[in-house]
C-alpha cells in the first residue's frame, strides 16, 4: 500500500528530468526508460485480438516491401515471459522467387519486467548472424507506429526450449532437466557459443548504432550499467530500501575496469535458446534484449548462478543451467575463448546480477503488475515474490564484501 501521491504512479516532467540527470545511461536506454515514464499513467494492458496483430504486422511489412505478400497461418506463440508473440507464415519474393517463410512477431506489452529497446535487440541479433545461431531479423516497429506497441519480426527457428519430460527422472533444482546424453551434446555448444559471443572481433562491433562503446582499461561502461538499474530502481520501486543504496554504492566504488570488450548477452542461460532433440543441436540463441558491450564475467556468473542450476541424477552434482558443473564450464570456456576468468570479477558480477534481479523483481515486477501493464500480470506478480530471496543473497554477499 502506498501514499496516494506516489510520484512514480504519474511521473511529472520534473521527476523524469531528475532521474535522467542523476543516472547517466546509454542514449537508447534513456529513450526507452523515458518513454516508459511518460506512458506510465496511460492505460494498462487489455486483451489484444490476433486480428489487431495481423493488421499491424501487415502494415509494418507493407511499409518495407510494398504489397506483394501474403500473411498466413497466424497464431499465438506460447512462451517468452515478457513479450507477446505471434507466429505466422509469409509468402513473399525476397530474392525474386516466391517463398513461404515462417516468422514471429515479438511485441512489447505497455510495460515489461524489463523495459528494453527493440532497436538494440534487432541490431544485436543481426550482428550475431554468422557468429552463433540466431534467427534472421526482418523488420522493426521501434515506436509502435504500425502495431499497438514496439515490435520486431524475426524468422521462426525450429526447436524447443525444454526437453520432453523424463518420467521417473525428477531431479532437484530450478534449472532445465536435460538428460545426460543431451547434456553432453548441448553443454559443449553452450560453452562454445558463449565463447564466440564474447570474442566477436572489435571491428564487427564498430557499426553498432544503438550501443554506446566500451573501452578497455575503463570502468565507464560498467558504471553506466549499474546506473541503468539504479535509475530503474528509482523509477519503479514500491518503497525505499537502504540495503539497495548500500549495494549501489558498493557496485560503483568497486566497478572493475574492462580487460576485454565483449558482447554480453545479458540473459544467457538454458531457457533462452532453442534446440532440436533429434540431432542435439542448439538452433537459435534468443532474448538479446539485455545485451550490452561489457565484461564477459556478467554472463559467466549469470548462467552459472544457483537459481538456474539443477542437481544431476546422483543428487550431488550441481549443474549450471542444468547442463554442466560450473568449474568444468569455466575450464572449457577459458579454453574455447582464450580469455581468462578472474575470481574477483566473478564475485563482483554475482553481486551486480543480484542487484539487477532485485530491481527487476522487487521494483519493476511489482510496479507493472500493480498497474495491470502486461498480458500476464499474475505471472509477473508471482515473479516479484522471488525478489526477496535474491535480495537476501545480495545482503549476505555485502556482509562478506562491504
Amino acid at each position: 500500500m502506498l501514499q496516494p501521491e506516489d510520484i512514480r504512479a504519474k511521473p511529472d516532467e520534473a521527476f523524469i528530468a531528475r532521474v535522467r540527470r542523476t543516472w547517466t545511461v546509454e542514449p537508447e536506454v534513456d529513450h526507452v526508460l523515458t518513454r516508459k515514464l511518460r506512458r506510465r499513467s496511460g492505460p494498462g494492458y487489455t486483451a489484444i485480438p490476433l486480428t489487431t496483430l495481423i493488421e499491424g504486422t501487415t502494415k509494418l511489412i507493407a511499409r518495407h516491401i510494398g504489397g506483394d505478400f501474403r500473411l498466413e497461418n497466424p497464431r499465438w506463440l506460447q512462451g517468452g515471459a515478457s513479450k507477446l508473440q505471434m507466429a505466422f507464415d509469409l509468402t513473399w519474393s525476397p530474392d525474386g522467387r516466391v517463398e513461404r517463410t515462417p516468422m514471429v512477431l515479438r511485441m512489447e506489452p505497455p510495460e515489461s519486467i524489463v523495459e528494453t529497446s527493440r532497436r538494440r535487440e534487432f541490431e544485436m541479433i543481426r550482428a550475431m548472424r554468422g557468429i552463433v545461431p540466431v534467427p534472421p531479423v526482418y523488420w522493426i516497429d521501434p515506436e509502435g507506429e504500425d502495431l499497438p506497441y514496439p515490435a520486431l519480426v524475426y524468422g521462426f527457428a525450429e526447436g524447443i526450449i525444454q526437453p520432453k519430460p523424463r518420467p521417473g527422472q525428477a531431479v532437484r533444482g530450478a534449472g532445465t532437466n536435460f538428460s545426460p546424453e543431451l547434456r553432453a551434446a548441448i553443454s559443449a555448444q553452450f560453452v562454445r557459443h558463449l565463447a564466440a559471443i564474447h570474442t566477436v572481433p572489435a571491428e564487427h562491433l564498430q557499426g553498432l548504432k544503438w550501443f554506446s562503446p566500451a573501452k578497455v582499461g575503463s570502468n565507464e561502461s560498467v558504471i553506466r550499467q549499474v546506473n541503468w538499474w539504479r535509475r530503474v530502481w528509482e523509477e519503479d520501486r514500491p518503497i525505499e530500501n537502504p540495503l539497495m543504496d548500500v549495494a549501489y554504492r558498493w557496485l560503483i566504488d568497486n566497478a572493475p575496469a574492462l580487460d576485454h570488450i565483449s558482447v554480453v548477452h545479458g540473459d544467457y542461460r538454458a531457457g533462452n535458446f532453442l534446440f532440436t532433440e533429434h540431432d542435439q543441436t542448439i538452433t537459435a540463441i534468443l532474448d538479446w534484449e539485455l545485451s550490452v558491450l561489457g565484461d564477459r564475467h556478467q554472463d559467466l556468473t549469470w548462467c552459472t548462478r544457483k537459481a538456474q542450476s539443477r542437481y544431476a541424477e546422483d543428487g550431488e552434482t550441481l549443474l549450471a543451467s542444468g547442463l554442466i558443473p560450473a568449474d568444468q564450464f569455466f575450464e572449457r570456456y577459458e579454453r574455447a575463448s582464450g580469455l581468462s576468468i578472474d575470481p574477483w570479477r566473478l564475485q563482483y558480477y554475482q553481486l551486480f546480477n543480484d542487484y539487477c534481479s532485485t530491481v527487476h523483481m522487487v521494483a519493476t515486477a511489482w510496479r507493472v503488475s500493480n498497474y495491470g501493464k502486461t498480458h500476464q500480470d499474475i505471472v509477473v506478480a508471482w515473479t516479484s515474490v522471488g525478489g526477496n530471496v535474491i535480495l537476501g543473497r545480495l545482503r549476505e554477499q555485502l556482509e562478506e564484501l562491504a
Binding site: 502506498l2 537502504p242 540495503l243 544457483k306 537459481a307 505471472v379 545482503r395
Partner: protein, 165 residues
C-alpha cells in the same frame, strides 16, 4: 457476516480447481499457467489475510530497529524525529494497515536519505555495516511471508512466520 471472507475464498477456490481448471483448453498452456498461479495466490491470501495487520506492524517495527541501528552507527544522521513519529504510529492501537505502511514508507525514505548523505569514509563504512546487519529481520519476514511460493533454496533456514509476528 455471512458468508465470511474465508468462505468466499473457499468456494472460489473449489470452483477454480474442480470446474474451471478441467475445462481449460489443453492447447493453451498460458491459460493453465495463469490459472495455477491464480489458485496459488488465492491460497496465499486465504492463509495470510488475517495476519496482514500484524505483519504491517512488524514491518514498521523492523524499520524502526533499522533506523536505530543506523542512528547508533552515525549519531548525526538526524533520524531521531523520524523514529519518534514512526514509534507513535506503531503504538497507536487504532492505526490500520495503510497508516502503518505509510509510516514505514516515510521512515525508510528518511533512512535512505541519511545513508546517502554520509560521505566521510569511516562513517560510511559503519553505516553500511549497520544497514547490512539491520536489514536481515525485514528480509526474513518478507521471505517467510511467501515461503509457500517455493522460491527458497533452503526453506528451513528461514525462521517461521509466527515466530516473527
Amino acid at each position: 457476516m455471512a458468508p465470511d471472507i474465508d468462505q468466499e475464498l473457499r468456494v472460489v477456490l473449489k470452483a477454480l480447481e474442480q470446474v474451471i481448471s478441467p475445462a481449460l483448453d489443453p492447447a493453451d498452456p498460458s491459460a493453465a499457467e495463469q490459472l495455477r498461479l491464480c489458485i496459488a495466490a488465492l491460497r496465499h491470501v486465504q492463509g495470510h489475510f488475517a495476519l496482514a495487520l500484524h505483519c504491517a506492524r512488524r514491518e514498521l517495527a523492523n524499520a524502526i530497529d533499522l533506523a536505530e541501528t543506523v542512528n547508533a552507527a552515525a549519531p548525526t544522521s538526524g533520524l531521531d524525529e523520524a523514529v519518534r513519529a514512526a514509534g507513535e504510529q506503531l503504538h497507536d492501537i487504532r492505526a490500520d494497515q495503510a497508516a502503518l505502511d505509510v509510516a514505514r514508507q516515510i521512515l525508510l525514505a528518511a533512512i535512505s536519505e541519511a545513508v546517502n548523505g554520509i560521505s566521510e569514509p569511516s562513517a560510511r563504512r559503519a553505516v553500511d555495516r549497520a544497514v547490512i546487519a539491520g536489514s536481515r529481520s525485514q528480509l526474513d519476514l518478507a521471505r517467510a511471508w511467501f515461503i509457500e511460493a517455493g522460491r527458497e533454496p533452503d526453506p528451513q533456514a528461514i525462521p517461521p512466520l509466527d515466530s516473527m509476528l
